[in-house]
C-alpha cells in the first residue's frame, strides 16, 4: 500500500550549510509519527518541504503516491486542502480576532459566509476547549497555551487528512503541555487523520506517537514503534532520549 505522505531523498542546503542530506520518510494514513532530534538539525525544514513552503534542492514529496514537490496552482491548492499545520509559535494573524483566525480557511479560501463560519469556528474552538468568550479577542490577549489551542483549531477546522505539529508543547508548563498532548491524540483519533509532529519533548513524543523517528545530520537514522524507543540499541537515540551531553552527538552550545 502507498504511504499517505512520502519524502524521498530530500536535500536542502542554505548556502554552504547542508541541512537535509537525502532524507526519506513515510507516513501511513491514520498514523501518528513523531520526529525527534536536536535543535537546528532541520526538523522544521523537513515539515516545510513537505508543505511546499520551502523548495528542496533535490528529492521528492509524494502525496497519495503523486509527486507534489513543485506543484503549482490548482494542484498545489488540492494538496494544501488535505493539510493542516500548527506552527511553532502558533502564527496567529494578529490583525484578526480569534474566531476569524480559526475560520480563516473557511472565510477566505472556501467562501463560507461569516455567520456560518463563526458558528463553525466556535464549535471547533469548543473541541479544543477554548471558551466561546475568547472568540472576539485578539491573539495578543491570549496566553501561549490558548494561542496553541487556537492554532490547533485553525488547523483542524476543515478536517485535514494530515496534520503537522511543529513543537506543539514547547514553551508551555507541564500541565498545559500534557493537555495539548491529549488534545492532539483526541483530534487525530476523531478525525482519523495522519499526524507528523516534531518535538524535543520525550514525554510528549511517547504520548502522541505511534512511531518515532530520529533525524541527525540530514537523515533519518532510526525509526521504530514508540514503545521501543527506550530499547532502540542506537547510541544516538539513547543519548537523546536520556538527554546526556556525552555521547556520539556533539552538543552545540
Amino acid at each position: 500500500m502507498n504511504p499517505k505522505l512520502a519524502l524521498r531523498g530530500l536535500k536542502k542546503a542554505f548556502g554552504p550549510k547542508v541541512v537535509l542530506d537525502g532524507l526519506d520518510l513515510d507516513l501511513a494514513a491514520g498514523q501518528s509519527l513523531v520526529i525527534i532530534g536536536g535543535s537546528g538539525v532541520g526538523k522544521s525544514v523537513t515539515i516545510k518541504c513537505a508543505l511546499g513552503l520551502i523548495k528542496p534542492d533535490d528529492g521528492q514529496v509524494l502525496l497519495d503516491g503523486k509527486v507534489i514537490t513543485n506543484a503549482r496552482g490548482q494542484e498545489r491548492q488540492l494538496a494544501l486542502r488535505q493539510f493542516g499545520m500548527l506552527f511553532q509559535g502558533a502564527a496567529l494573524f494578529d490583525s484578526l480576532s480569534i474566531w476569524e483566525n480559526v475560520a480563516f480557511r473557511l472565510l477566505y479560501a472556501d467562501g463560507v459566509g461569516r455567520a456560518e463560519a463563526r458558528e463553525r469556528a466556535i464549535e471547533t474552538m469548543r473541541r479544543v476547549r477554548l471558551a466561546p468568550e475568547t472568540a472576539d479577542l485578539r491573539p495578543i490577549e491570549l496566553s501561549g497555551g490558548m494561542q496553541k489551542r487556537a492554532g490547533l483549531a485553525r488547523a483542524i477546522i476543515a478536517k485535514p487528512q494530515i496534520i503537522f505539529f511543529d513543537e506543539p508543547t514547547t514553551g508551555l508548563d507541564p500541565i498545559t503541555a500534557d493537555a495539548i498532548n491529549d488534545l492532539i491524540v483526541e483530534m487525530v483519533k476523531d478525525l482519523g487523520c495522519a499526524a507528523l509532529s516534531i518535538t524535543h519533548d520525550m514525554a510528549s513524543a511517547r504520548k502522541i506517537a505511534d512511531d518515532i523517528a530520529m533525524i541527525h545530520q540530514g537523515k533519518i537514522i532510526w525509526r521504530g514503534p514508540a514503545a521501543s524507543v527506550d530499547s532502540s540499541g542506537n547510541a544516538y537515540v539513547e543519548q537523546f532520549v536520556h538527554g546526556r551531553a556525552v555521547g556520539p552527538i556533539q552538543a552545540v552550545v
Partner: protein
Amino acid sequence: MLNWIRQVGRGVIALLRESGRFATFVAQAIASVFTPPLYLSQLARQALSIGYFSLPLIGLTAVFIGAALALNIYTGGARFNAEQFVPNIVVLGITRELGPVLAGLMLAGRVSAGIAAEIGTMRVTEQIDAMTTLSTDPFKFLVAPRLIAATLGLPLLVLVADTIGVMGGYLVAINSLGFNGSIYLRNTLDFLESQDVLLGVWKAAAFGFIIAAVGCYQGYRSAGGALGVGRAATNAVVGATVLILATNYLMTAFFVE
C-alpha cells in the same frame, strides 16, 4: 586597483540582482491584482489606513507648503515687478510638482514603512507561511489590496492636497500680501489647465504604486527577527523615496516634451 574594480563590479552585480528580484515581485503582484479573488474587506481596510488616515498629514503638509510658496514667489517676483503672478505660479507649482511629490514623500515615510513592518512581522512570525497552508495566496490577501488602495488613493489625496495647498497660498496672500480674495481665486482658476492637474494625478498614481510595491517587497523578503523587520522598514522608506524622485523627474520630462 584590481581590488577597487572588483568592489565596483560586486556592487553593480548586487544592484542588478536586487532589481531583478524586485521586478519579479512586482510582476507577480500585478498579476495578483488582476486575478480573482479580490478580498474586498482587506481592500476597504487598506483604503482606510493608507488613504483616509493620511489626510491630516497630507493636509498639514499642503497648507504650509502653499503658504511658504506664496511668500517666496511674492518676494522673488517683486524683483521684476511680477508680484501679481503669485496665484498662477502657486497653483502651477502645487498641482504639477509639489502636491504629488510631497504627498508621495510623506506617504513613503508613513505608509511604506508601515507596510514593510507589518508584512515583515508576519513573515518572521510565520504568519505568511500559515496563510499559505490555509489555501490563501498571501499576494492576493496582503499585497494586492495594498497596491490597489495606494495606487487609487494617492491621486485622491493629491487632489485634496492641491486644494488645500492653494488655500494655504490664498490665506497668506490676502492676509499678509494685500491681495484681493476674489481676484486671487479668479487668477488661480483662469490660468490653470486640466493637464496641469492631470500630470499631478498621474504622478500620484505612480507614486502610490511605488510606495505599496516597495513596502510589500521589503516586508515580504525580510528575515532575521526584529532586526530584519527594522531593516525592512528603513529600506522601504529609502527605496520608495529614491524611486519616487527618479520617477518624478522622468514623468515630468516626458510630459513636458
